[in-house]
């Protein structure tokens, strides 16, 4: 399996607080990797570093074998090859659904309005949101907002998708519709890195689960191994709390 994304000794600190410590991670093409761990373990920061939204302090990140953290590389070119979806949706509130989706393709990829809208309509139809295309974000439910955010990221036709706890801000009954979108992408063979608190979902969809703790990947492996038979006491403790909370 070809390596799509690779992190080598990645370290990231905010002022004095080290959030990621010498992270090594390889993600193969078409592989789905779930990042689990408590809040503040560095999952979200890791994804934002990969998207170059945060500069890293040491190490390097490679996409298709090319060091994207090299200062010579234009971050805008890199971001065009990957999509990221955030916990808080971050849709543009002053634009309707269609404009939210077509902004990137038109302004970054130079598509004509017609071509961009055609692409957007196809995606909206696939995810059952066709009738919402002229709505503004404040008229959508949380689940709809998040699906639009996924479509917006997909509209640039990335071959790597990053998901940052995209169901954490949703009402429980809306979680499924968003997770099903990701299941659909897995069937397409999309390479994905997913930070999540939904352990059941991680077990379903992940090829590999990484447990992050205090800015390091403490343990990683197949879902059944990590979730049912963790080796590290810290992982066991974390999963026990999840089980106690009725989330697994």
């Amino acid at each position: 399996m070809a390596v799509k994304l690779e992190l080598r000794d990645v370290t990231k600190a905010f002022d004095d607080k080290v959030v990621l410590r010498d992270i090594d991670l390889k993600v193969g093409e078409h592989e789905v990797v779930c990042l689990i761990g408590s809040s503040g373990s560095g999952k979200s920061t890791l994804l934002k570093c990969v998207n170059l939204l945060f500069p890293i302090d040491a190490g390097s990140i490679l996409l298709d074998g090319e060091a994207i953290t090299d200062p010579q590389v234009n971050p805008n070119d890199v971001r065009q090859k990957m999509g990221i979806v955030f916990q808080a949706f971050n849709l543009f509130p002053h634009m309707n659904v269609l404009d939210n989706i077509t902004l990137g393709p038109r302004k970054v990829h130079g598509l004509s309005r017609e071509a961009a809208e055609e692409r957007a309509r196809a995606l909206l139809e696939r995810f059952g949101l066709t009738e919402k295309l002229s709505e503004f974000p404040d008229r959508l439910s949380g689940g709809q907002k998040q699906r639009v955010a996924v479509i917006r990221a997909l509209a640039s036709e990335p071959d790597l998708m990053l998901f940052d706890e995209i169901t954490s801000a949703l009402d429980p009954e809306l979680v499924a519709e968003v997770l099903n979108v990701i299941r659909g992408l897995k069937e397409d063979g999309m390479t994905m890195v997913i930070a999540t608190h939904e352990m059941g979902f991680a077990r379903d969809v992940a090829d590999r689960i990484c447990f992050l703790d205090g800015g390091v990947i403490l343990e990683q492996g197949r879902p059944q191994d990590i979730l049912t038979n963790p080796r590290k006491p810290r992982t066991r403790q974390f999963l026990q709390r999840i089980v106690d909370a009725g989330r697994l």
Binding site: K48, N51, L53, P75, N76, D77, R79, Q80, G83, I84, F86, A88, N90, L91, F92, P93, H94, L103, G104, K107, V108, H109, D138, R152, A153, S156
Partner: protein, 291 residues
């Protein structure tokens, strides 16, 4: 003494008068409030008026400032001068809104590559905001034409308006900046994440949201500008105040100033009212959106 109420007591009409009754009570209270407000305004206004009109020098002041004959005589000139004021602040406002936005966008750019540009803008804004506007008008309005540079306009009108644009752009840039900073950081991140450049992110995502947030402050600046255009009279530009001054110089009658005052109020008060109305509507909308 009982501290708690039984459920049927809570629901009883004695405690909860019902929506309708409450609404009627509100309306009655509102009407009574309006009456009190009107009455106290009339009383206070009457007192002040009586105080002025019974002053010993009032007849002389009236002749000097509020003379109907002089008013009729001077009004056409002041009005035509004032029309120049209107043209000046309309043209200046459009230029200010544009230049200030450019300044604010440059200031919002991040990264070491943009440092020289950012520094330049900050120095400009600091300097301009530190100079009294009247001094700026005198220095630029008399100074630059005196240099007699080829290709540079020498009209006091041009330099008067240019100075206002320069000065107000510095202030207005700060208004825009506050607006841009009020847009949540996550919007910038989302914009960058789909591959937009910094300038594109500002143009399509941050600035449109920022402007919506600062419209009341921009309108406020516009009201301020409407009056400050009169300052160019010190360069000899024959706008409203200058016309009034010319009349006063030849007649020793100040009614022209009153005519100018009335004209300035006639445009600035409606804009001020509109600003309040807009701000209130905006506040309500935001409230409706969060509930």
């Amino acid at each position: 003494m009982r501290l708690s109420l039984a459920p049927d007591e809570i629901r009883s009409p004695g405690l909860w008068p019902g929506k309708q009754r409450r609404r009627r009570a509100h309306r009655e209270e509102g009407a009574r409030g309006a009456l009190i407000a009107a009455a106290s305004t009339v009383v206070l206004g009457g007192l002040v008026l009586w105080w002025i009109l019974t002053s010993e020098t009032w007849p002389a002041v009236q002749k000097q400032f509020f003379n109907p004959d002089n008013f009729r005589e001077v009004f056409p000139d002041v009005l035509s001068g004032f029309w120049l004021d209107v043209k000046m602040f309309m043209v200046a406002e459009v230029l200010i809104l544009f230049f200030a936005l450019v300044l604010a966008m440059i200031r919002a750019l991040r990264g070491p590559a943009f440092f020289p540009l950012r520094a330049l803008v900050i120095v400009f804004i600091d300097l301009i905001r530190g100079i009294p506007i009247i001094l700026l008008i005198l220095v630029l309005g008399f100074g630059i034409p005196a240099l007699q540079l080829t290709g540079v306009p020498r009209s006091p009108l041009f330099w008067g308006v240019a100075t206002l644009v320069i000065s107000y752009s510095a202030y207005t840039a700060e208004v825009y900046r506050a607006g841009i900073e009020s847009v949540h950081e996550s919007q910038r991140m989302a914009a960058r994440s789909i591959g937009l450049t910094q300038v594109q992110a500002l143009r399509y995502v941050l600035v449109p949201q920022a402007i919506r947030n600062v419209i009341p402050a921009l309108l406020n600046g516009f009201v301020s500008l409407q009056k400050d255009v009169a300052l160019v009279f010190i360069l000899g530009v024959r706008e409203g105040v200058r016309e009034a001054q010319i009349y006063t110089a030849s007649t020793f009658n100040y009614t022209g100033y009153i005519a100018a005052t009335i004209l300035f109020l006639a445009v600035s008060v409606p804009v001020a009212r509109f600003t309040d109305w807009y701000t209130e509507r905006d506040r309500r909308r935001k409230q409706a959106m969060t509930t």
